[in-house]
């Protein structure tokens, strides 16, 4: 190995390093970055998308909204129930809603982005489960289910879904039989896939992926579980409508 490295001329090593880093950064930040998604059945290459925040699906009555639906600032979060950073960011967002939600200044919109490559089967099933909670108990049940799920589970694909999902359904007062029937029905598969496609269309490379929308419709991207201080600064900017 040492001999191999020794024989590589220095300028060549600099060029290779530069090309690899620049290429990776370009691909990672490019608005035309392609993203691979895998559905439950078989690996599938998502067609080349234009990663553009303006491609975010409009917020509608069909969305899961916490807080004032007419809030001047809306944070649209694309999340994966098995992602440990989404679990962490969920608490940050609850803190945001404690500070800004009560006055109706900020609304939190939850969309699905299960990463099948990293959390096969489980993340998508959990996304279906929370949709079933919404069907059976409304928007309040959706958020109760999501809060309890993140509180209870270890993330990183370690959740025992067969036990935990009905358990939470029971805890929040849903009919477990109806919940299980809904879970097996596959009726929300298309809805979740549409969220996944929309997340990639807006340029997401991972989760949590959030888009802060101000009162004028201007959008700010926020990638990852960023600290509360950063989210707060972004919200304050958005509230100013700059």
């Amino acid at each position: 190995m040492k001999k191999f490295i020794k024989n590589i001329p220095l300028p060549l090593s600099v060029i290779i390093a530069g090309v690899l880093i620049a290429g990776a950064v370009y691909l990672g930040t490019s608005k035309n970055a392609s993203t691979t998604a895998v559905n439950n059945q078989q690996p599938q290459q998502v067609p080349q998308q234009t990663g553009n925040l303006d491609q975010m699906a409009a917020i509608s009555a069909g969305d899961h909204i916490r807080g004032n639906p007419n809030a001047p600032v809306k944070i649209v979060e694309y999340s994966d129930f098995e992602c440990p950073f989404c679990k962490r960011f969920h608490d940050t967002m609850k803190q945001v809603m404690d500070e800004y939600g009560k006055d109706g200044k900020v609304a939190w919109v939850y969309r699905h982005f299960p990463l099948d490559q990293l959390h096969p089967v489980k993340a998508r099933k959990e996304a279906v489960a929370v949709e079933c909670a919404n069907e059976l108990g409304g928007n309040e049940a959706f958020w109760k289910f999501a809060d309890r799920f993140f509180e209870l589970t270890p993330s990183n694909n370690q959740t025992d879904v067969d036990t935990v999902l009905p358990q939470i359904a029971r805890e929040i007062g849903l009919d477990v039989n109806e919940f299980n029937t809904c879970l097996a029905s596959g009726k929300y598969d298309a809805h979740i896939e549409a969220d996944v496609q929309n997340a990639t269309a807006t340029g997401s490379n991972g989760t949590p992926w959030s888009i802060v929308v101000d009162k004028n419709g201007k959008k700010y991207p926020l990638s990852g579980a960023q600290p509360y201080a950063s989210v707060k600064q972004l919200i304050d900017l958005a509230l100013q409508g700059k």
Binding site: I16, G28, P43, S223
Partner: protein, 182 residues
Amino acid sequence: MLFQALQKVFRKPIYILLALVTSFAVFAFAVWLPNISLIVKVMGHPGISLTQKLDLPISLLGSIVTNFTLLSALYTITIAILFGINVAIFVYFLRRRITDVEQSGIATGFFGITSGVIGMGCAACGSFLLTSLLSLVGASGILAFLPLGGGEFGILGVILLSVSIYLTAKKIQNPAVCKITI
């Protein structure tokens, strides 16, 4: 030997400063990487005050705690420190016009930082740079088979940078001279 060589380089405060600045730059690059487009957008906005423009990137540095695993935070910080040291000793060589620098040390250093940069940014779920590179060849599913989910590249970066520092330090302590044998 390594300690003595580093002592020789860092005797002058300018090299300490260079190492610190480089280390901070690498660290900031790693932490800001997922949000470069946000930072660019805020920095380029004419209606936002300078204080607000500076506050955001400063607060985003805190994501080393919230957006990294313990392992990825450790190797990101280690890579930043090692790269800073590497650059300082490299400049030490250049300033002394030593022509017979053992290239293997520097080449290893560049491969080390490349591997480290590819492995870092594994902040949000879905390693940022690694996913992009693997997607290019349609192999992003390979991440599921890596026990550390791509963190292996970060660890490799730490090893290569350490080897680079060792090789370069060896050269500082034993410069290429014609030895007299008696």
